[in-house]
Symmetry: C2
Subunit: 100 residues, 2 copies
Amino acid sequence: MIVLRQLIGDVLRSQRMRQGRTLRQVSADARVSLGYISEVERGQKEASSELLAAICSALEVPLSSILREVSDRMVEQERPGPSDVASVPRAPIPEVVAAA
Amino acid sequence: MIVLRQLIGDVLRSQRMRQGRTLRQVSADARVSLGYISEVERGQKEASSELLAAICSALEVPLSSILREVSDRMVEQERPGPSDVASVPRAPIPEVVAAA
């Protein structure tokens, strides 16, 4: 099952890493405790709307674009996976042919 | 300030209304209490990831498309409003000219 808070955490962390910033820096800018932000990034805590807005503001990224990225990643994960298509035969993995 | 939970509530309600379903029906299908869903729709309660997934499942709409719609609506609201452009002179409201 896809858990929204995990995707949100992943996207927030990706964004922070892209900016080369530490959790501590974002925590200070967002005025949110380090522990809380850390838990949100790891998908262990649901971020309230206000907290999410504060983190996005600290990252200088519109919340809408974070949600857009979350939505895009979710679409990927919503595609039927192996467990959902158990009855559909999967293409065999081609054997690696050693060069002669 | 744009509050995420209010936009989520709006989008969920729009979706339910489009389907012509009552809160009671969705509550039963999602196995979530009527009061809780009602508060979520009114933007008064943060929906947990699991609860959102249950509501989307009951509505037979992927969570990704709900988030996409939320993101789209948020973009609209993120555009600078009158309070953000206070220094920019606004066009005067034209006077209504009475027909002669």
